[in-house]
């Protein structure tokens, strides 16, 4: 992609969000004002300078997370679409040690031997990022993952977040092994043998229409409690 020779600072900071320098770990820069983004970058470079003298990466990591939270925290008075007065709650009906727990994530994982029909299979993450608008208009597709799969064989492609860490280790967003260890220790009755994942960057209205069917699928699989990881 051509990068303009002259661009404003605003254009520069916004380019990390589905732009010429797209990096989904730093797409939050678009939500910052120019002054805020400038302050973040100045502090970032300061911490890099500290590393010349042996400082570890901890301050850099903490700084990036601090500003990600700042960017995503709603401004006072901002319109928020998903604010509810009440939420659902059901207590466990029996001991957790007798309960079948199911894993559901919006991380975009799938078994390549059972690829989703949305074009992610065999497609590079960078190409899928370019299709974010299309995904946000479409209904999500629920992928089923046999949890006996060897983790390196799982694929993850998602237009809404930086999948580098999830590509290196699925547990980062699809914690099947951690839940299985909990089951092995007797912490839960069992982990459902099938996990589920979809791309959360989808039409939220269409997602709501899918949920009744998805809940039937999960109940049909014997799942009594859900371990949900939205990404």
């Amino acid at each position: 992609m051509l990068i303009p020779m002259r661009e404003s600072f605003e254009d520069f900071k916004n380019s990390f969000s589905y732009g010429s320098r797209s990096d989904l770990s730093f797409k939050f820069l678009k939500a910052l004002s120019d002054d805020q983004a400038a302050e973040f970058l100045a502090r970032l470079l300061h911490e890099v300078g500290e590393m010349y003298d042996g400082a570890g990466p901890e301050a850099l990591l903490d700084l990036a997370f601090e500003w990600q939270v700042k960017a995503y925290t709603p401004k006072p008075g901002a319109e928020r679409p998903y604010v509810y007065e009440e939420g659902p709650f059901e207590p466990l009906t029996h001991q957790l040690e007798e309960t079948t727990v199911g894993l559901v994530t919006s991380s975009g994982h799938f078994d390549p031997s059972d690829p989703p029909g949305d074009g992610r299979a065999g497609t590079a993450q960078e190409s899928i990022i370019d299709r974010i608008d299309e995904f946000l208009r479409n209904a999500p597709e629920l992928s089923t993952v046999d949890l006996s799969i060897d983790p390196p064989h799982l694929e993850v492609v998602h237009p809404g977040y930086d999948t580098r860490s999830a590509s290196r280790d699925p547990e980062v967003t699809f914690p099947a092994r951690a839940l299985q260890r909990a089951a092995n220790r007797g912490g839960i009755g069992s982990l459902a043998s099938t996990g589920y994942s979809f791309v959360g960057a989808c039409s939220q209205g269409r997602l709501r229409k899918e949920l009744d069917h998805w809940i039937d699928v999960w109940k049909g699989a014997g799942i009594e409690a859900l371990f949900l990881v939205p990404v």
């Binding site: 509810y84 957790l96 860490s165 290196r168 951690a178 990881v229």
Partner: protein, 71 residues
């Protein structure tokens, strides 16, 4: 019944999740760094404890461990 694991407490509060574990992990890494099974187990344990012990909705547990990649 369900428990959610995520970063960004404000979303859990707005959406009134029945139970939520909040981590201090950057977007795309809610369970923790790659190959850090100790942290993943800690987060799972917090979630399972909430499943057991929460008595009402909007139950939130916030884990304060920073994000530290395994080296």
């Amino acid at each position: 019944m369900a428990v959610v694991v995520r970063s960004f407490r404000h979303v859990a509060q707005e959406m009134k999740y029945p139970r939520a574990v909040i981590t201090q992990h950057p977007m795309g890494r809610p369970m923790g760094p790659p190959e850090d099974s100790s942290t993943h187990d800690l987060v799972v344990a917090a979630g399972l404890e909430l499943l057991t012990n929460a008595s009402a909705g909007s139950a939130i547990v916030e884990l304060h461990g920073p994000y530290r990649p395994v080296t």
